[in-house]
């Protein structure tokens, strides 16, 4: 055990810090849940890509710089620590990217990954359906083979930022007679294809944060399938763990929120201390954010020893989503009557508070995650 960084790691940290200092937008970008904000974020992503900082862990030939997991954690620490913009293409970069890396053909990798790293293509996920939420194996959207193409019919929903995105990816039933986990295939679909209709869904913040996608005889070539026909569930699950675990929500983001929470508390200490418990709540939340980061480093260590992680990623998902909610709840308690205002400096806390409500629901509801932990980590019988 050696919990200090090497000179090379420190140099990388310094480089990232310096670059961010010189290149961070002077003004915060508009919300990426608006068209204008979405395009601003795309521009920012291109800038990151040009500096080969958009996907630092990817190999150089795919637009990355071949960093290891520790360097990736360092990048994230500097990135979120500097208050840099949220990653608008994360569904592509962090969910689809690793899947393509593991299961994609060479041609697919070359075609999609560099454009994804540069955010030339923006990706939306298309997993959920009106009747397939927590029970994702109930997917009924069909993609029926016709020559060298699949013909897609059906509906997807809760597709984040789909009205602005260029492509979507998800599971479709390619064997019409199949049920549950069988007969599903993992497909990538251009959102400008004939027969695609996207209808925005207003989220509780009033923005078009997600959308429904309707497929009406949408044709995609067979080479848009990742993995074998009918193996979609396996492909999706193989990477789901890792994403949920490490990539999707890196610790730095929550540590940054925790630091801001401490600052918010200190700036409002006199009033906040009217409730003597608040100081401890703040310190506990800050410690929890550190615990999440330490767990990430420890997981990296386990991976480096050749261990596999599985259900631990479900534990992570429970932890970060409840931590995020808790931190924003404490902030709202500190803000008091100011918390509801949508037009002042504290509004970013309100926005975070609203978004945090979704954390325990999306990417697999926390109840499902607890079942997974109980069944796969603890070995309890299925219900």
């Amino acid at each position: 055990m050696e919990l200090t960084y090497t000179e090379k790691q420190q140099a990388f940290r310094a480089e990232v810090r310096q670059w961010l200092k010189e290149n961070l937008p002077a003004e915060p970008l508009a919300s990426y849940d608006t068209k204008a904000g979405f395009e601003q974020h795309r521009e920012w992503e291109r800038k990151l890509f040009d500096a080969r900082l958009s996907m630092v862990m990817w190999p150089t030939e795919l637009g990355g710089r071949g960093c290891d997991l520790i360097e990736w954690l360092i990048f994230e620490e500097e990135y979120y620590g500097a208050g840099a913009p949220m990653r608008v293409n994360q569904n592509g970069q962090l969910l689809l990217g690793p899947t393509l890396m593991e299961f994609g053909t060479q041609a697919q990798k070359e075609k999609f990954l560099p454009r994804m790293a540069a955010s030339d293509d923006m990706w939306a996920q298309a997993w959920s359906e009106p009747n397939a939420g927590s029970d994702m194996a109930a997917i009924s959207s069909k993609a029926i083979r016709d020559g060298d193409e699949y013909v897609i019919n059906g509906q997807k929903t809760w597709s984040t930022r789909a009205i602005f995105a260029d492509w979507c990816f998800g599971l479709f039933r390619t064997d019409a007679e199949s049920s549950r986990h069988h007969g599903l295939s993992y497909l990538m679909v251009p959102l400008d294809a004939p027969g695609v209709t996207i209808r925005p869904i207003k989220a509780l913040n009033g923005k078009q944060a997600f959308a429904e996608i309707f497929f009406d005889n949408v044709r995609v070539p067979v080479e848009n399938r990742i993995g074998d026909d009918g193996q979609g569930w396996k492909v999706a699950m193989a990477t789901a763990g890792f994403e949920r675990g490490l990539l999707l929500r890196s610790p730095a983001r929550f540590q940054q929120t925790a630091r801001k929470l401490v600052q918010l508390y200190l700036a409002n200490r006199r009033a906040a201390d009217a409730d003597p418990a608040i100081a401890t709540k703040v310190a506990q939340a800050w410690s929890d954010a550190q615990a999440y980061a330490l767990s990430a480093y420890y997981t990296v260590g386990r991976l480096s020893r050749g261990e596999k992680i599985g259900a631990e990623s479900s534990i992570n998902k429970i932890f970060w989503s409840e931590l995020d909610l808790n931190m924003h709840q404490i902030a709202m308690d500190i803000l008091g009557a100011q918390g509801e205002l949508t037009d002042c400096a504290s509004t970013s806390w309100l926005e975070g508070f609203l978004f945090a409500q979704a954390g325990p629901i999306y990417a697999g509801a926390n109840e499902i995650q607890r079942n997974i932990v109980a069944e796969r980590m603890l070995g309890l019988p299925k219900g």
Binding site: M1, E2, L3, T4, Y5, T6, Q9, Q10, R13, A14, R17, E76, E77, Y80, G81, P251, R253, Q255, Q256, A258, R259, V262, Q263, Y265, L266, A279, T280, A283, Q284, W286, S287, Q290, A291, Y292, A293, L294, S295, Y297, Y298, V300, G301, R302, R305, E312, I315, F319, E367, Q369, R370, N371, V373, A374, E375, M377, L378, G379, L380, P381, K382, G383
Partner: protein
């Protein structure tokens, strides 16, 4: 950056675990704990034969020369198997203190005896009003403030200490109030050096208990998992019900996120980094929370059986409750975290951000 244990450390842990599994089964412990002394010299010497008492004794005194990092694995095993206080207190906490003293005839002799499993040391510290295992100790490490206001650390033979036992709800505990007279002969170190040593000893004691609490949490979780997998109601194992599953998943999560916090603290204490105190308190709190939840949810999923003397859960639950306030209670460690955090953020914003998981960087 290498957040892993060495193969040797892991293998040693595995060996100790396998050994204690057979030698320290709950039925054996119950018998030992019912005796007056509450200790088994036989079990103790067997554990010493495994090398545990030599773990952190310096190599020149016949030990293995390992430190807090290795102990963060071992204390979990001691907790998991409910090994009473004297083992961790002598072999880890007291040995850490003695090892930090300058080499000398007495100190070297004590360390050699510890390594051989022949010396039991009880440690008195201001943060604990009672001393654990004072009665059966051979030597006590104690401190007091002299008439000049200086802190003095003394090593005093058991025969020279008056011991008034107190009983604890944790049947393994042998607590006592002590009274003693410092002598010139018993003085080990005084002044700033003594103060530094005592502060470090408090951190080591807290870390020792934190590791044991984490081991206890894991034991209570394992017992609970076993129980709910075999107990049937409504024609099925109660472990198949979501309400029960979620209770235990929450315990697993607490343990999972406490573990690396414990390890960071152990590393910082071993390296004596400026953040060691903060990290130790964070570790103690995280492990307290894991053990407390494992006890609460453990007894809940055991149903009425959890409230009985018969089921082993009670041994580990009560030991957890006893250890939680030991070596600095929850309030003590929470206050240390709060003070440290708020003063550091006021002074240096960056020291509390994502860049500083392992202390201030560049």
């Amino acid at each position: 950056m290498d957040f892993t244990f060495t193969e040797d450390e892991l293998a040693f842990r595995e060996a100790i675990s396998r050994f204690l599994m057979t030698e320290a089964a709950p039925e054996t412990l119950r018998e030992i704990w019912e005796t007056d002394s509450g200790r088994s010299p036989e079990l103790r010497s067997k554990i010493a034969e495994q090398g545990l008492t030599a773990l952190s004794v310096p190599e020149e005194a016949g030990g293995l020369g390992l430190g807090d990092v290795a102990w963060s694995l071992m204390t979990q095993e001691l907790g998991y198997y409910g090994i009473p206080d004297s083992m961790a207190d002598s072999a880890y906490v007291a040995t850490g203190l003695l090892s930090a003293l300058p080499a000398g005839e007495k100190r070297d002799a004590w360390l050699e005896q510890v390594a051989a499993g022949e010396l039991r040391i009880a440690v008195g510290h201001g943060c604990n009003s009672l001393v654990a295992d004072a009665q059966s100790a051979d030597l006590l490490l104690l401190h007091h403030t002299n008439h000049n206001g200086d802190i003095e650390l003394h090593a005093i033979e058991r025969a020279l200490v008056d011991v008034t036992p107190h009983s604890s709800i944790d049947s393994s505990r042998r607590l006592a109030r002590i009274s003693w007279q410092p002598t010139d002969d018993s003085l080990v170190v005084s002044g700033d050096d003594a103060e530094v040593l005592l502060a470090e000893t408090l951190n080591r004691g807290a870390l020792s208990v934190a590791g044991q609490l984490l081991g206890l949490a894991q034991r209570m979780l394992d017992l609970s998992v076993d129980y709910v997998a075999q107990r049937k109601q409504f024609g099925r194992a109660i472990g198949s019900f979501q309400a029960v599953k979620h209770h235990l998943a929450d315990v697993a999560a607490k343990i999972e996120f406490a573990r690396p916090v414990l390890y960071r603290a152990a590393w910082a204490l071993q390296k004596q980094t400026p953040d060691a105190e903060l990290y130790v308190s964070q570790a103690k709190l995280a492990c307290i929370d894991a053990a407390a939840l494992a006890a609460r949810h453990g007894i809940q999923v055991h149903g009425a059986m959890g409230y009985t003397w018969e089921v082993d859960l009670q041994m580990f639950m009560k030991r957890s409750w006893a250890l939680i306030p030991s070596w600095g209670d929850r309030s003590f460690h929470q206050a240390r975290v709060n003070d440290n955090l708020f003063s550091r953020v006021a002074a240096d914003n960056q020291s509390a951000g994502p860049e500083s998981t392992f202390g201030r960087q560049i």
